[in-house]
């Protein structure tokens, strides 16, 4: 039988004495859009930060595409094709949009055998993408990220993730700071990515919205997974009730 694309097994993570993830086990398949919801501080960001290599779990295993992940580093996750829109980091204020866009994967052009940054490509591509994501003409690819508004920053991060999408796209509250129109755009994109066969993990507080988009909803509470249900098996109201009650354990994921 085919293995899940990402498999998290009995994960524990401590920040010092603080138990941030408690025995979390969850599988994610390719071609799936999974909503990850739960209260503030429930551990959603912490969980996906393990998946994208920022945090190393204290205990437990992560499997990617049938192989056990032994080392945790963002570079390794990116090389595995995991692209992440982080909640609070990801852009360097002191760099231009173009430089941020290609940070860590800068294209180069050889001049006299020396690999110099390919500025034309960096500017051209990033300009194209930020226009697609609704940034207005007063923002150029050479502008430092520092001067961007919250929504403009978010758009740069989303545009970048979509541009480099590969096998997995993780979105941590991607619609924060976005206008209604851009929110719809992002939600459509999430569905498109999934339809192209990617795994999309979508963190949000808007359970009704994500219930419409997702194939499955995982609920976290206090560092634990408290629900994991197909959207066809539970209504948004039922899921909301689970969050409100602060996590009565529910397991309704059909297939084994």
């Amino acid at each position: 039988m085919a293995h899940p694309l990402i498999s998290v097994k009995n994960l524990d993570l401590y920040f010092g004495a603080f138990h941030a993830l408690k025995d979390v086990s969850v599988d994610f398949d390719a071609g799936e859009l999974v909503g990850l919801v739960g209260d503030n501080g429930a551990g959603k960001t912490t969980l996906i930060r393990v998946l994208c290599g920022i945090h190393k779990p204290t205990k437990g295993e992560v499997w990617f595409d049938g192989a056990r992940v032994k080392e945790f580093h963002p570079k390794l996750a990116i090389d595995n094709g995991i692209e992440t829109i982080q909640q609070s980091v990801g852009l360097c204020d002191n760099l231009s949009i173009a430089r941020n866009f290609y940070l860590g994967r800068e294209p180069v052009k050889k001049i006299l055998g020396i690999p110099f940054l390919d500025f034309a490509k960096m500017r051209g591509e990033s300009r194209k993408v930020i226009r697609e994501f609704g940034l207005r003409d007063n923002v150029s690819a050479d502008d430092e990220v520092e001067r961007l508004s919250g929504g403009e920053r978010q758009s740069v991060k989303i545009g970048r993730a979509v541009e480099f999408m590969n096998r997995v796209v993780i979105m941590d509250e991607p619609t924060n700071h976005l206008s209604v129109r851009e929110r719809e755009h992002v939600n459509e994109l999430a569905v498109q990515l999934k339809e192209q066969g990617l795994l999309v993990i979508y963190i949000t507080h808007d359970i009704f919205q994500v219930h419409k988009l997702a194939d499955r909803i995982v609920i976290m509470e206090n560092g634990e997974k408290v629900a994991d249900a197909k959207t066809t098996d539970m209504t948004a109201e039922e899921l909301e009730e689970v969050i409100r009650q602060g996590g009565r354990k529910v397991e309704k994921r059909g297939a084994a």
């Binding site: 920022i54 570079k75 990116i78 992440t84 360097c92 204020d93 110099f116 940054l117």
Partner: protein, 318 residues
Amino acid sequence: MKHLVKGQGFGAVIGVVLMLAVFSLIDASGWWTAQTMSNVIHYTAILGILAMGQALVIMTKEIDLSVGSVYGLAGIAFIMLQPALGVAGAILAALMIAAAIGVLQGYAVVRGGLPSMIVTLGGLFTVRGIIYVWTGGSVKAFPEEARNAFVTRLFGGEILGLEAAVFWMLAVAAMLNLVLWATRFGNHVLATGGSAESADSRGVLTGRVKIVTFMLCSVLAGFAGILTLADQPQTHVTIGDLMELEAISAAVIGGCLLSGGRGSLTGAVLGAFIITSFRYELIALGAPSSWFITFVGVVLIVAVIFNQKLARMAGHSV
């Protein structure tokens, strides 16, 4: 023009213009003499190389207090190893010693998660101690034939009537500017200083970036020491004393922000020029040389205030 004003080195450009105007007014005869100019340019080249290395480290949001000692140790290694290795061999060995010190300190900062202020303060003392032990406190000099060797002249002689160090500094400046602004490594340096967390999350190996900049900074300090001693091949134990403070001041006067991610290599050289000019102007005016340190302090504070105002005007949050 817009690029220039937005560039971090702009404050230093204004500083140089102001300074030259003032020096010309108060002391036209002593300042614009060939002797003063030649000294200023020579020492600016040496300090400029140190300052550029320091600027790179500051741009990654770290600091290197050990450069004065490394400058001294590399210079001394160059003189002390020459009998065994020849001039060229001694230069290579001295640079390798400098590189090793940089890597060690960078490694301690990154892997140990220690503040670079403390690690390199330790480096400053440790390396200075090695200088004392190695030279036994005595003065060592090159024999006549090493003094006149081609390689020695290449680094310490004169080309077209200018000290060779000036050309080396210009070459280093051109190269480092290209590396910083137009290569992947440079982008990673700027990103590491801007937000190491964000850079990490994009797969940049920020630890490695820092170790490499510490190494570059050390090698440049060592190179500056070699340039100095190739010109005057004679050791003394205090060589490079306090030079770390001059190098940091030059970088900061040149527009490097200690908050990381912003700075200018050209500005660092201009900062070195300003500091050096004050030293020789005081000499030209016949003031006691002990005033020099006080002046550097005042210029540094004024420059920081001024650069911060400039940065705020450009819309940066500092």
